[in-house]
């Protein structure tokens, strides 16, 4: 029998629908793979073996009864531990929520269950989604399946590593400054940040509410599109959810083409700090787009140079406010409550123990940026920069259909290399942040290995808000051309674990 863990989500769904394999067999194969390799990778924080098998059995029974199955029925998925799951622990990678069992499902979790997607478990992440390396998890780092001594990207490192190590064909991430795309890039997988507001944030633990966006992670562009259609759409429980039809992303992924499209290359997405091999693969991708029939247009987006600075004021400001709910009163950790201390003191002691250094750093930074006397200079100015970035994108999309760039300036760096240098770590999200500030849709897909270190390089595609289908149309065309050139998907070159 073929190794079920090597199949794409679309292939698995087709085989289950035709009765060639059962959902239980598929789930068991993935659970066995997790058992065999996750000790080395550490992609999962919690594996819900019984729940996954029960859901798989329900799919098989549905099929036996002759009921129609959804397009991803019975396909296993790894869920980032930032989404609440009723009856299953949810930690956000933090000690402050260790052992917390939510009494409700996030809207995204509910949609996955309703679509008969089999949730294998919860994946490792940087604490509260703050970080670009998954080294900030309170439960230990995740390794990159291409080289276990390197980071798998962050904050969704567990999700991307689960895909690249064939523990799951689908995963869910969240992208505040690049946490879906950056891990996808450094693990050789596909990650999509949908348009802001396209996927509900209800039940997704908030980090920076105006930037956070859940989205699909997969090994192929079509698989990402199939998952996108399951999770996207209006949710009355989220006031920032867009009440408009979801673009036809699956259709776009099935009809990849760049013929006649105008593709923008932004001058500001290059220069100092970019690894030579990353730029080489990116430039080859641009050449490929030209060969496939796209018109390449050089653009300048001058405000992008300030995007990183604006992000590291806006995100911490919103996080300092959002994380105020972790006050040790209603749920989560409580320490120091010996009967002599006030509620305020218990809160301060609990937060000191429950939060890790990166979370504390950002809460402090946000508290500073929002404090009286500094508000205008920092938070106020950052919001002006956000307007300028939005305008840069609007101008760009008057001239082109999509913008492309490298997803990350470098390939995966060694675990520990940037741990004590926050500014060096923050540079990992240099190319991904502008799309979060403006609310655009964006994708990362593999475009080759950097010659100097043999590690994956990501190509980023950015589309206007609500034009998510363009990402899939372009992404599918690039993927098809590159797979034909290599003779196989890039992940087949990853070392076996």
């Amino acid at each position: 029998m073929t190794d079920l863990t090597r199949l794409t989500a679309a292939e698995i769904a087709a085989r289950i629908a035709s009765g060639e394999v059962t959902a239980v067999e598929v789930t068991e194969a993935h659970l066995a793979r997790i058992e065999a390799v996750d000790e080395k990778v550490h992609a999962f924080l919690h594996v819900d073996r019984e729940g996954a098998l029960a859901q798989a059995r329900a799919v098989d029974e549905k099929r036996e009864r002759g009921e129609e199955l959804g397009p991803l029925a019975g396909v296993p998925l790894a869920l980032k531990d930032i989404f609440t799951t009723k009856g299953i622990p949810t930690t956000v990678g933090s000690k402050i929520l260790e052992g917390w069992i939510p009494p409700y499902d996030a809207t995204l979790t509910k949609r996955l269950r309703d679509a008969d997607v089999v949730v294998l478990g919860k994946t490792n992440m940087d604490e509260f989604a703050m970080g670009s390396s998954t080294e900030n998890s309170a439960f230990g780092p995740t390794g990159n399946p291409w080289d276990l001594t390197r980071i798998p990207g962050g904050s969704g490192g567990g999700s991307s590593a689960s895909l690249a190590s064939f523990q799951a064909p689908l995963a869910i991430g969240t992208d505040t400054g690049g946490s879906i795309r950056q891990p996808a890039a450094v693990t050789g997988t596909v990650g999509v940040k949908p348009t802001y507001g396209a996927v509900s944030r209800y039940g997704m633990v908030a980090f920076s509410s105006s930037l956070d966006q859940g989205g699909p992670c997969a090994r192929t562009v079509l698989d990402a599109a199939l998952l996108h259609e399951v999770i996207a759409g209006h949710d009355p429980l989220d006031s920032t959810s867009i009440d408009a039809p979801v673009p036809a992303v699956v259709e776009a992924a099935r009809n990849g083409s760049v013929q006649g499209m105008r593709v923008g290359v932004v001058k500001e997405f290059a220069g100092e700090g970019y690894q030579a091999g990353v730029m080489q693969r990116f430039n080859e991708s641009v050449e490929l787009l030209r060969e496939l029939g796209a018109e390449i247009v050089e653009l300048s987006c001058p405000s992008f140079d300030k995007a990183l600075a604006a992000y590291y004021l806006i995100a911490p400001s919103e996080c300092s406010s959002n994380l105020a709910r972790f006050d040790a009163m209603r749920y989560g950790l409580r320490t120091g409550d010996d009967g002599t201390k006030s509620a305020e003191e218990v809160t301060a002691l609990t937060r000191a123990e429950g939060f890790g250094p990166e979370v504390k750093r950002r809460i402090m930074l946000g508290t500073y940026a929002l404090s009286s006397g500094y508000y205008d200079a920092y938070y106020g100015s950052a919001q002006k920069v956000r307007t300028l970035i939005k305008r840069d994108f609007e101008k760009a999309f008057e001239q082109v259909d999509v913008v492309v760039s490298p997803t990350t300036p470098t390939t995966a760096f060694p675990i520990g290399e940037r741990a004590d240098d926050p500014m060096a770590m923050y540079l990992a999200d240099l190319c991904t942040i502008p799309a979060n500030l403006a609310g655009n849709a964006a994708m990362s897909l593999p475009c080759g290995l950097a010659p100097e270190d043999g590690l994956p390089v990501g190509l980023q595609i950015i589309a206007p808000a609500m034009a998510d289908d363009r990402l899939y149309k372009v992404g599918a065309a690039v993927e098809a051309a590159l797979t034909a050139k290599w003779g196989h998907p890039l992940l087949e070159e990853a070392p076996s674990l």
């Binding site: 509620a343 404090s371 200079a377 307007t387 939005k390």
Partner: protein, 98 residues
């Protein structure tokens, strides 16, 4: 732009309800100073006549009709409470003794 002192970090920590240790205060003072130094370039647009953007979507308040609907039971809501008493969240004292 002013440098961030240890005392200022201690003040921020109090505002943020974080009980930091002495060595953390020193560590964060240096790091926050570096980060603020690097992100301060946003102020290059400070005097420009640019409207601020706080959110990528035009936000409107969303209301629903005021109907009684099923919700969590008290037991479910209290299931993860660090402490409870008489079907309520039990919290440390909020007001002083006097």
């Amino acid at each position: 732009m002013p440098g961030i002192t240890r005392e200022e970090v201690a003040h921020l920590a109090r505002l943020a309800r974080l009980e930091l240790k002495a060595e953390e205060l020193d560590h964060f003072a240096g790091q926050l100073d570096d980060i603020i130094g690097a992100v301060a370039r946003v102020s290059e647009v400070a005097d420009q006549d640019v409207p601020p953007t706080s959110h990528p979507l035009p936000l409107t308040n969303v209301m629903r009709s005021d109907e009684v609907r099923p919700s969590l039971t008290p037991q479910q809501a209290l299931a993860c409470a660090p402490a409870q008493e008489q079907q309520r969240f039990k919290v440390p004292q909020i007001l002083g003794e006097e």
